[in-house]
């Protein structure tokens, strides 16, 4: 599975990256979480907020930093 956090490099984006690295293994998913600050990727997806979490290039979380529990709910919904 390709897991990516794309952000503009702001605090919120890095926090989401750290949280994602923590949460995926807890859900038994050991694929690497990649961080990218290529804003063009976000824009080309038609999205205008940052950070974005994508699973297999599909955006699942946009423009916010959820708490751990909420992030798990979102990930479970999409895998």
């Amino acid at each position: 599975m390709k897991i990516e956090v794309i952000g503009s490099g702001c605090k919120k984006c890095k926090a989401l990256f750290e949280l994602a690295k923590e949460v995926f293994p807890e859900l038994g998913i050991n694929d690497e979480v990649i961080y990218s600050n290529d804003i063009n990727k976000i824009v080309l997806m038609g999205i205008m907020q940052s950070p974005v979490l994508t699973i297999n290039d599909k955006p699942v979380l946009v423009g916010m930093l959820p708490n751990k529990e909420r992030l798990k709910e979102i990930i479970i919904k999409y895998i």
Partner: protein, 319 residues
């Protein structure tokens, strides 16, 4: 509307803390408790409601609305939609690129970029709670007029050549690709967002109201009239200047300003100061440097600044 809170504040001040009524200390403490409870209740209600609305109108949908509108309607809609969108430095660049690449005119984009931070929800709550709905409305309307007119002026100046060329590199057909949200998820989103804001601002609100309460109780009523009354021409530009470095701290600044207004700072000056705090933010300008030339940032800042100063003088004259 706030009567039960006043009763609670009275009960806490006089019965629980046992402070003798009608003393300076009692007034100050009472004022502090009343304002604090009122503001926190308003923050929870207003921000929760705005978040719910926003979950239906994310920037991507706003773009779809704006790219279909003609120029002037676009400026007006962009400014209105800017109200419900909080300005986050994380999203400034994707927002700008997303608008421009989908064919939203530059002037319309600027209207949005000005309204979004200037008319922000926290500032709105504090204005409503501390100054009343009339002043809050005046703030919104003048903020809207500034962002609409500034956008129209920038649009007329044909400054597309001052945007970094790569911005126009790929033109996209604003197709939306957003994860969908169920009703429960919207409520969760609004709940989380409201809590986030509370966590972020509570300390500033408390400090602001605290100092405000002290000013309210201990400074004489006309203390500032001789320095900051409406007859002093230099006060408005000075207030705007002081406001620039206080960006993103509307939460602490507005309670303070409300107390100063009580002591003789005129309303136009107060409004201009608050607009300067919210709309003119150095970090935002630094970020925008990635997508536009400094000359365009200077044009943008100058137009907004002139608009704010003009608003200050206008309200000093008519209020």
């Amino acid at each position: 509307m706030f009567y039960p809170i006043q009763l609670l504040a009275d009960w806490l001040t006089y019965s629980i803390f046992n402070i003798t009524p009608k003393t300076l200390l009692a007034d100050t403490i009472n004022f502090f408790i009343f304002d604090t409870i009122k503001i926190f209740i308003l923050i929870i209600i207003v921000i929760f409601l705005i978040s719910i609305i926003r979950s239906y109108l994310p920037p991507e949908k706003i773009r779809a609305i704006l790219s279909r509108k003609n120029k002037y309607v676009g400026n007006i809609l962009a400014s209105l939609l800017g109200i419900i969108t909080p300005f986050c430095s994380c999203s400034a660049i994707p927002l700008f690129l997303g608008f421009v690449q989908a064919g939203v005119p530059l002037g319309t984009t600027f209207s949005f970029l000005i309204a979004s931070p200037m008319i922000n929800e926290v500032a709105l709550v504090l204005l409503l709670g501390l100054f009343g709905w009339k002043i809050a409305l005046m703030y919104i309307v003048s903020g809207l007029i500034i962002s609409i007119l500034s956008g129209i002026i920038i649009g007329k100046m044909k400054v597309e050549n001052l945007v970094e060329p790569f911005v126009y590199g790929n033109l996209i057909n604003g197709n939306r690709n957003l994860p969908s949200m169920s009703g429960k998820e919207r409520i969760n989103y609004a709940k989380d967002y409201t809590l986030d804001i509370l966590k972020k601002v509570w300390i500033y609100v408390l400090i602001g109201i605290g100092i405000g309460a002290w000013i309210h109780g201990y400074l004489p009523a006309d203390f500032l009239v001789q320095y900051a009354g409406s007859d002093k021409w230099y006060v408005v530009p000075l207030a705007v200047l002081i406001g620039i470095p206080l960006y993103s701290n509307a939460a602490g600044v507005i309670p303070l300003v409300s107390a100063l207004t009580e002591k003789g700072v005129s309303m136009g000056t107060t409004l201009a100061f608050m607009m300067s705090v919210t709309a003119l933010s150095l970090p935002e300008f630094m970020i925008l440097k990635k997508v536009m030339k400094i000359k365009l940032i200077i044009i943008f800042v100058s137009i907004v600044t002139i608009g704010i100063i003009f608003t200050g003088y206008l309200f000093n004259l008519i209020l």
